[in-house]
Symmetry: C2
Subunit: 202 residues, 2 copies
C-alpha cells in the first residue's frame, strides 16, 4: 500500500486585541513543536518587547503596498489604521511539506483565507467576558483611552463574525486555552478527509 504524503493543515487564530493571543500561541507552540507559526507582516509600530522577525515582520507602508502590488500576500487587511498581511510562498511550501501552519490574523483576513483554502481550520479566541477584555487592555498600559475604546468597539464588530469560524476557545487561563487548541489540532488531523488514504489498498 502506497500512502500519499499528507498535506499540512492551515490553522487560523483570531481574537480581539487584548485577549492574550500571543501568550496562548507561545504555549501552543511549546505543546506542538512541529507546528510552524507564520509571522505576519505589519505596518504598525512594535510594542515594548516586540521584536522584528519574531512577533511580526515590521515594514513601512511603502514596502507593504509594494508587496500587495507584487501579489506576494495570501491575505492582507487594514486594522486600526495599520496593514497586516501573510506571505503566500512560505505557507505553501510548508503545507506541501506536510507541516501544519498557524496564522494569527484578524477576521477579514480569516474570511479571505477560508475562501481560498476551504480546508483551513478557523479558531476564534474570546476573553471570559467583555469586562475582563477591558481590564486586560487597560492593564497593558500601552494604549490611550481613546485607542482602548476603539479596540473594544472593534471587538464587538469582530464577535459578529464568529459564526464563520469552526471553533470558539475561551481564554480564561492560558494553559486551558492552549490545551483546547492542541486538542482541536489533534482532532482535525483525525478527520476522515485527512486520513482516508489509510484505508486504501484494503
Amino acid at each position: 500500500m502506497i500512502k500519499k504524503q499528507k498535506e499540512g493543515t492551515l490553522i487560523v487564530l483570531s481574537g480581539p486585541s487584548g485577549v492574550g493571543k500571543s501568550t496562548v500561541i507561545s504555549q501552543l507552540l511549546s505543546n506542538r513543536e512541529d507546528l510552524y507559526f507564520s509571522i505576519s507582516f505589519t505596518t504598525r509600530q512594535p510594542r515594548v518587547g516586540e521584536e522584528n522577525g519574531v512577533n511580526y515582520n515590521f515594514v513601512d507602508r511603502d514596502e507593504f503596498e509594494r508587496m500587495i502590488a507584487a501579489g506576494e500576500l495570501l491575505e492582507y487587511a487594514e486594522y486600526v489604521s495599520n496593514y497586516y498581511g501573510t506571505s503566500l510562498k512560505v505557507i505553501n511550501d510548508k503545507l506541501a511539506a506536510g507541516i501544519d501552519v498557524l496564522l494569527d490574523i484578524e477576521v477579514q483576513g480569516a474570511a479571505k483565507v477560508k475562501s481560498l483554502c476551504p480546508d483551513a481550520v478557523l479558531i476564534f479566541i474570546i476573553p471570559p467576558s467583555f469586562e475582563e477584555l477591558s481590564r486586560r487592555l487597560h492593564g497593558r498600559n500601552t494604549d490611550s483611552e481613546e485607542t482602548i475604546a476603539g479596540r473594544l468597539q472593534k471587538a464587538r464588530e469582530e464577535y459578529k463574525e464568529i459564526p464563520r469560524y469552526d471553533y470558539l476557545v475561551v481564554n480564561d487561563r492560558v494553559d486551558n486555552a492552549a490545551a483546547e487548541i492542541t486538542s482541536i489540532l489533534t482532532a482535525e488531523s483525525c478527520r476522515v478527509k485527512r486520513r482516508i488514504h489509510l484505508t486504501e489498498g484494503v
Copy 2:
C-alpha cells in the same frame, strides 16, 4: 448574561469486529468519567467474560422484535445474523441533561443516527492493517475460521462507509486511540455551534 444550558453531544463509535473497540471504550470512559456509555441491546450470545447490563443488554429475538414494534429503539440493525439496537429514551434524557452520550454501533446504525441527529459525531476505528485485524480475530479464540472469514469480508464492506464518518482513528495502541478520541470530544465541545451562546449579550 443568561447562558442557555447546553445539550449533550451524541458520539457514535464504529469499527470492524476484532479492532479492539471495547478496550478503547474502557480507556476512553476512564479518561472522561462524565461520558455516558449507552449499552446496546443485542440478540447475540454473550462471549466469555461478557455480562448482561454491562457489555450489552442480552435479549432474545422475540423481545427484540417487540421493542422494534413498540418504537423503543433509536436505531437497530442486523449484523452477522444478530440484532443490535439502541434505546431511544435513555439517550434523549441524557442529552437533554447536557451529558455527552457514547454509542457503539455498526455502520448501518451509525448512518441512521446521523440522519436523525445531524449533530452526532461519527468516529470509525480501524486496525493498523488488515493482517493485524485477522491476527486479532484469530487470537481471540472465540470464532470458527468460517466466522472469522465472514467478519473480515464484513470489515471490507464497512470500510466503504468510512467517508460517511467525521473522524478516523487507528487503534495501533489502546492509549493512543483513546487519547485521540478524547481530543476529538474536546474539540467537538469547542465547535462554534456548541458555544455560540457564550458570545451573547455582548
